[in-house]
């Protein structure tokens, strides 16, 4: 199959109740509101007419800020949510018409670890799920052991699940997703909570073992830009339910390559400095953060390097102390910030 995952105008809306405003929390006001039956519902377009295809053996990354709709998309693809419009084909099966076959074709790691039984060992938990996945009795032990080995939990196999660290629980999540040997993997932030070494190991397993050797198709969501940059073959940037950019990692970065990023470390920072930099010709955007109590870090996207001296001047004239300044090519993180801020506008 050329495209094991194919989204066709997938749309998912949620109708949610608006919380009562602070001023309406009194009993009488609340009763009045109930009697008047005001509209307290609002519709959120979590996934908005999304279409793309993922090739066999491809590692496809989905990037976006919180609330972009990544988890909703994963949950819709794995049939836990029912789409409002459009559909998707997973391993050739329609998520609307053949949800059972879709579920039999996928392995899923969701953002929240659920469905574990704390007083069962890791092995017993996996054996339980292996039976639900209908792995034949003759192969069930072998499969469970190999999954435990793959995620590095062989030594912890007989420990109660509730005694594992959160990183180990995440590994067990991945082992469960791989149990049925599915052709398609939907991984919602699989490295969340893992330490640096475990994350690197897991990324290696996903990229080389699962996608490379076993030709599995992987859709992975992540907040970790380095992770996306390192392992994904292609990326989609999602914002407010829409795909705002899609392509190979290099292409996504090139979308903002016409600009460069000036990083400044400033002490005695003030809002006036920020405002004067924003007004400068050639400045595309300014993002400010405070990594330590004394200094602010400014990430300024500029159209050309010629504006750098003007930035220094603006800081000094505004009463700030310029501690360090450097010009960099945009990282994927910069790209994401730029694309999503443009999407917001």
């Amino acid at each position: 199959m050329d495209y094991p995952v194919e989204l066709q105008g997938l749309t998912k809306r949620f109708t949610v109740k608006k919380p009562l405003p602070e001023g309406e929390l009194g009993l009488l006001k609340f009763m009045g509101r109930l009697l008047r039956k005001p509209k307290t519902m609002e519709t959120i377009l979590a996934v908005n007419d999304v279409s793309f295809k993922i090739r066999e053996g491809e590692l496809f990354g989905l990037l976006g800020p919180n609330g972009a709709g990544k988890t909703t998309m994963i949950k819709t693809l794995c049939t836990l949510l029912w789409p409002n419009a459009g559909t998707a084909l997973v391993n050739g099966y329609d998520i609307r018409r053949e949800p059972k076959r879709v579920r039999a074709s996928i392995g899923t790691v969701l953002d929240i670890q659920m469905g574990w039984y704390g007083r069962l060992s890791c092995r017993q938990n996996l054996l339980f799920y292996a039976q639900l996945y209908n792995i034949p009795p003759s192969k069930i032990r072998e499969r469970t052991e190999s999954m435990l080995k793959l995620v590095g939990l062989t030594e912890k196999a007989d420990e109660w699940q509730q005694k594992l660290s959160s990183g180990m629980k995440r590994k067990l999540d991945v082992a469960r997703a791989l149990l049925p040997d599915p052709p398609v993997l939907l991984l919602d932030e699989p490295t969340l909570g893992l330490d640096v070494e475990s994350s690197r190991e897991l990324r290696h397993v996903i990229k080389h073992e699962l996608c490379g050797n076993q030709r599995k198709t992987v859709l992975l969501t992540t907040h970790n830009m380095d992770e996306a940059e390192q392992i994904c073959d292609r990326l989609a940037v999602m914002h407010k339910g829409k795909i705002i950019a899609i392509g190979e990692t290099g292409y996504i970065k090139s979308l903002v390559k016409s600009s460069e990023v000036v990083t400044c470390e400033v002490r005695r920072m003030s809002p006036q400095i920020l405002a004067s930099i924003e007004k400068l010709d050639g400045v595309v955007s300014v993002a400010s953060s405070q990594p330590n109590p004394e200094a602010h870090q400014l990430k300024i996207q500029v159209k050309e390097r010629g504006v750098v001296p003007k930035i220094s001047e603006a800081i000094v004239e505004g009463g700030g102390l310029l501690h360090a300044i450097r010009v960099e090519e945009p990282s994927l993180e910069d790209t994401l910030i730029k694309l999503t801020s443009e999407g917001s506008k």
């Binding site: 794995c78 949510l81 059972k100 929240i112 007083r119 069962l120 054996l127 339980f128 209908n134």
Partner: protein, 275 residues
């Protein structure tokens, strides 16, 4: 067809999961076994103490002893209560989302979740019958086992209906469902676990409670199971059995429909995993 059949294989997974989980609480597990014997002794003793008061209502059951009457009531109650209560456990948000991601069907999921509880209730029945025959003169010589099993199965079906309704409502509201709890608790009062529903007429001369009792499937189950203990067959009690069947069909049909609707609503709202 593969062996073992997929649904049986999956159900066994649930059974084993619960067996391992329950037995991991060792002290609790040992006390649960002791609890079965204590309950049987308590019911038998209570029956002996209330023998003279219960005697007038025992004629329809071949003058069985009040101890036997109460032991039967209690052991059936365990089965019915499990049937009503267990489907609500599946409404556990983490559990249901995760199981739905496997190829396991919802009926298999529900039955599998209940399998350990039924096994445990079956052990209870054995203990109750053992204590009943050994200490309280329970007579098993004329019992009609096929009637016993048929009535119990239909009763279980009706109670599933209530339980599945409650599970569906719980999926949507994320709240404990008081309606089915009320029906279950009310059945202790009117359905005849400890005393015959006819005895209600002595405290409620209007007959309201007595009339209400026959709208509950439990009342039919207790009544007919007791009749099976004096050798009555299904054919001997066809009209009563028909009533139970109608109640079971209505309760189960409505329950399944409610559950499916609630599940679909959760999938639309995205609230399946909400706590």
């Amino acid at each position: 067809m593969s062996w073992p059949p997929r649904s049986v294989y999956s159900m066994y997974a649930f059974f084993r999961r619960d067996a391992v989980n329950v037995s991991s609480y060792k002290l609790n597990f040992i006390f649960s076994i002791a609890d079965m014997f204590l309950w049987a002794l308590t019911m038998g003793t209570l029956g002996k103490i209330t023998q003279s008061a219960q005697a007038p209502y025992m004629q329809q059951y071949g003058n069985m002893s009040a101890a036997t009457f109460m032991l039967i009531g209690m052991m059936c109650n365990m089965f019915l209560q499990q049937s009503q209560g267990a489907p609500q456990w599946i409404a556990n948000p983490g559990n249901i989302e995760r199981i739905l991601l496997t190829p396991c069907s919802i009926p298999t999921f529900i039955l599998g979740t209940m399998s350990w509880q039924y096994f445990w209730s079956s052990l209870n029945i054995i203990v109750f019958i053992f204590i009943g025959t050994l200490l309280f003169g329970m007579d098993l010589s004329v019992i009609n086992w096929s009637t016993f099993i048929i009535v119990l199965l239909i009763g279980i079906l009706a109670m599933w209906g209530l339980g599945i309704t409650a599970a569906g409502i719980q999926l949507v509201t994320k709240q404990w469902n008081p309606i089915t709890w009320f029906l279950m608790a009310f059945s202790w009062l009117v359905s005849g676990v400890f005393y015959s529903p006819e005895a209600l007429l002595t405290v409620d001369s209007s007959g309201t409670l007595y009339a209400f009792a026959w709208y509950l499937p439990q009342t039919y189950v207790y009544h007919m199971i007791r009749l099976s203990f004096i050798g009555k067959t299904v054919l001997d009690m066809l009209p009563t059995l028909a009533n139970l069947l109608i109640l079971a069909a209505v309760f189960f049909g409505l329950g399944w429909l409610t559950f499916k609707l609630c599940m679909r609503r959760c999938q639309l709202e995205g609230s399946l995993g909400w706590v």
